[in-house]
C-alpha cells in the first residue's frame, strides 16, 4: 500500500521515515502562527514554559486580525503585548488592517509545497491549498514550536475527494464544501485529512482552492491537501515562497474513504440558519428574504470573490432595505480591489467597504451586528445562533456570488440567473 500526502509530509518531517495513519510522530515544524484572539493564552503559555531561549521564534508570525480594529481596551492591550513580543524576538508581525492570518501567511511567502505549518486557528487547514500540511493547534503547541521547532502529531487517516469537472460559472468552491457538509455533516470528517483531486480542482484558480482547504475546518478536518500544479508553483514564486517540495499521493495510497462529486453539475448551495450542515440548493430556497449581505473572512474575502460581487453589482443598486459590507481578507487584496475600481462599483451600488480583518465572521469588532428578525446572507464559514452578536437574527451562508446576487434582489438568488453572475467564465 502506498502513502497519502498527509503521511508523506508528516513522515518527511519526522526524520524521513515512512509513517502510517494512526501513528504518533514528533515532527519538525516549518512555520507557526499566533493570532490576536489566542495570543493572550499563547503568551501566557510561553511564559509558563520559561524557556531560556526561543531559537525558532523567527519562524512564528504574530497576526493582529480578529480584533482589527480593536473594539475595547483589552484587545488594544493584547496588541501592545504582541508588538512588544515581536520587537523583542524578531518574529514577523502583521498589524491591524494587514489582513487575516490565513491570507497573509501565504501572501508573505511564509510557506511552500511540502511544508508543515501550525496556527492557533482551526482554519489553518487553508495552507493545504499550497500542498502544505496546515493544522490548527493551541498556545501550548506554539510555545513548544518556538522552543524546540518540533511538535507531536497523530498521523490522520485520509478521505480522498475527487471533483469531476469544472464548476459552472456562478458556482464556486464554497458550494463544493457546502455540498460536502450536507453529505457528511458538520465535523463529519473529524480528525481525518482530506485530499481533493480531479479536474474540478485543476480548473480552480488559487483563490477558490484556498476556500476548499479553508472551509474543510467545518468538516472537522485536521488538514485539507491539494497536489501542486503549475498554478500553485507560479503563485508561490510570485509571493516569494521558498523553493517548493511538491508531495504527491501514491496511486495505491491507503484512503479510509473515497468520495466522488460531479462538480460540473453542482448548483449553488446555501447553509440555512443556525447549522452549517443544513444545506439546500439555492434554486430550492430562492425567494427567501434577506436584509444583510456580507462578503469577507478567510473563507471568501479574496480578490475573485470581490471581483465576482462587483461584476454582479456593476451599475446597479442593492435592493431596498438591504445593507451590505465587503471586507477584503488582506491589505494586498484591498489594494488590488481598489486599483481595479471594484470599490467604486460596490460603493456606488450601496455597499460599504471595511479594512481587512476577521470581523465579518464573528462580529468581534462590533461592526456587523444584525437586528432582531433580520436574515443575513454571508460568505463566512459558521452560522450558529448568535455568531454575529444577535441570537434573534438568522445567518445563512453562501458563496460571494450568491451573497452579491441576493443583495441585488433582496431575496436569496442563484447567481447564474443574474447578469454578471458568469463573471469567472467571461474573465
Amino acid at each position: 500500500m502506498g502513502h497519502t500526502i498527509a503521511e508523506k509530509i508528516l513522515g518527511q518531517h519526522a526524520g524521513g521515515k515512512a509513517v502510517r495513519a494512526g501513528e504518533i510522530v514528533i515532527a519538525d515544524v516549518d512555520f507557526a502562527m499566533i493570532h490576536d484572539a489566542r495570543a493572550g493564552n499563547a503568551l501566557k503559555m510561553i511564559e509558563k514554559l520559561g524557556a531560556k531561549s526561543l531559537p525558532h521564534v523567527k519562524r512564528t508570525a504574530l497576526v493582529l486580525d480578529h480584533y482589527s480594529p480593536p473594539p475595547n481596551m483589552e484587545a488594544a492591550n493584547t496588541h501592545v503585548e504582541m508588538r512588544a513580543f515581536a520587537d523583542k524576538h524578531g518574529s514577523p508581525i502583521y498589524d491591524v488592517g494587514d489582513g487575516i492570518c490565513h491570507q497573509v501567511l501565504p501572501e508573505g511567502g511564509h510557506l511552500t509545497c511540502g511544508d508543515l505549518v501550525v496556527g492557533t486557528d482551526t482554519h489553518s487547514t487553508t495552507y493545504g491549498a499550497f500542498n502544505a500540511f496546515g493544522t490548527g493547534v493551541e498556545g501550548t503547541d506554539v510555545s513548544a514550536v518556538m522552543m524546540t521547532g518540533k511538535l507531536w502529531f497523530r498521523v490522520p487517516e485520509t478521505i480522498h475527494i475527487e471533483l469531476q469537472g469544472a464548476l459552472q460559472p456562478g458556482v464556486w468552491a464554497k458550494d463544493v464544501t457546502l455540498s460536502m457538509l450536507g453529505r457528511l455533516g458538520a465535523e463529519g470528517a473529524n480528525y481525518r485529512a482530506l485530499e481533493y483531486a480531479g479536474s474540478g480542482v485543476a480548473a480552480m484558480a488559487i483563490d477558490d482552492r484556498m476556500t476548499l482547504s479553508n472551509h474543510a475546518a467545518e468538516l472537522g478536518a485536521k488538514a485539507a491537501l491539494l497536489e501542486a500544479d503549475e498554478k500553485t508553483l507560479a503563485w508561490l514564486k510570485a509571493h516569494g515562497a521558498a523553493a517548493p517540495k511538491p508531495v504527491k499521493a501514491d496511486a495505491d495510497a491507503d484512503y479510509t474513504q473515497r468520495i466522488v462529486i460531479d462538480t460540473a453539475k453542482l448548483a449553488p448551495q446555501v447553509a440555512r440558519q443556525h447549522r452549517i450542515d443544513d444545506i439546500a440548493a439555492v434554486p430550492d430556497v430562492a425567494g427567501q428574504k434577506i436584509q444583510v449581505a456580507l462578503i469577507g473572512t478567510c473563507t471568501n474575502g479574496r480578490l475573485d470573490d470581490i471581483r465576482q460581487a462587483a461584476a454582479i453589482l456593476k451599475g446597479r443598486k442593492l435592493a431596498k432595505g438591504v445593507r451590505m459590507i465587503v471586507t477584503p481578507a488582506s491589505r494586498a487584496i484591498y489594494l488590488d480591489a481598489m486599483r481595479e475600481g471594484l470599490f467604486e462599483i460596490l460603493t456606488e451600488a450601496g455597499a460599504s467597504v471595511e479594512a481587512a480583518g476577521c470581523g465579518t465572521c464573528v462580529n468581534i469588532t462590533g461592526h456587523y451586528i444584525s437586528g432582531d428578525g433580520q436574515v443575513v446572507i454571508s460568505s463566512a464559514n459558521r452560522n450558529f445562533k448568535g455568531r454575529l452578536g444577535n441570537p434573534r437574527s438568522e445567518i445563512w451562508i453562501g458563496s460571494a456570488a450568491t451573497v452579491a446576487a441576493s443583495a441585488l434582489t433582496g431575496v436569496i438568488t442563484d447567481a447564474r440567473t443574474v447578469a454578471g453572475g458568469d463573471w469567472r467564465a467571461a474573465a
Binding site: L49, T122, E138, T140, D141, M147, K150, W152, N190
Partner: protein
C-alpha cells in the same frame, strides 16, 4: 498514574467545551468563575456537585468544534481525573493531552452516573466492576503516556527539552 479510579459523571453527545467550559462566550469571566458553572446548561448543577477525582463519561464528539485549551485548565480546577467518550473533537483531544488530562476513546454505553470507573491507560482497559463492564481500548501511544505522566506538554519539555526520543522509544 496508569490506573485511574473515580466516580462517573455523565454528559451527553456533542458537548462543545468552547461553549460550556470556557470564557469564549463569557468574555471577562475568569477560569475560577467558569469552573463554578461549567456544563450547567447541558447538565444542571454539574459543577457544584463535582467531586475532585470524578471521571467524566461523555457522549460522542466530546469537545466538538472547540479549540480552547482553557477548557482543560477549568477541568483541572474542577478536579477531573480523566475523560472517556466514544469520540472526541480533534482540537479538544489534543488540548487535553497537552495539558495532562487523560482522555480515552471508548464505548460508554451502560455506564451511569455514580458508577465506580477504572481506567487503565497503559493496559488499554476501561472497567466498571459493579456492572461487569470491562472494555479493551488501544493503549495510549508511548508519547502520549509520557506527556500525561509529565502533566502535559509544558512540564514534559521542561524536563525533556529535546523531546528525549530514545528514552521514549526504549
Amino acid at each position: 498514574m496508569n490506573i485511574i479510579k473515580g466516580s462517573a459523571r455523565v454528559l451527553g453527545d456533542e458537548v462543545s467545551t468552547d461553549i460550556h467550559c470556557s470564557s469564549k462566550y463569557l468574555p471577562g469571566k475568569d477560569t475560577a468563575y467558569i469552573a463554578t458553572v461549567a456544563f450547567d446548561q447541558v447538565a444542571p448543577g454539574f459543577a457544584k456537585a463535582f467531586v475532585k477525582g470524578d471521571i467524566i463519561v461523555a457522549g460522542k464528539n466530546f469537545g466538538i468544534n472547540s479549540s480552547r485549551e482553557q477548557a482543560v485548565h477549568i477541568m483541572h480546577r474542577l478536579g477531573v481525573a480523566g475523560i472517556i467518550a466514544p469520540s472526541f473533537g480533534r482540537q479538544f483531544y489534543r488540548n487535553a493531552i497537552n495539558n495532562g488530562m487523560p482522555v480515552v476513546e471508548c464505548d460508554t454505553s451502560g455506564i451511569t452516573a455514580g458508577d465506580a470507573v477504572e481506567l487503565d491507560l497503559a493496559g488499554g482497559r476501561v472497567s466498571v466492576p459493579s456492572r461487569n463492564i470491562a472494555r479493551s481500548v488501544p493503549p495510549l501511544p508511548a508519547v502520549v503516556q509520557a506527556l500525561l505522566t509529565a502533566g502535559g506538554l509544558i512540564p514534559f519539555l521542561q524536563k525533556h527539552p529535546d523531546w528525549n526520543l530514545k528514552e521514549l522509544e526504549a
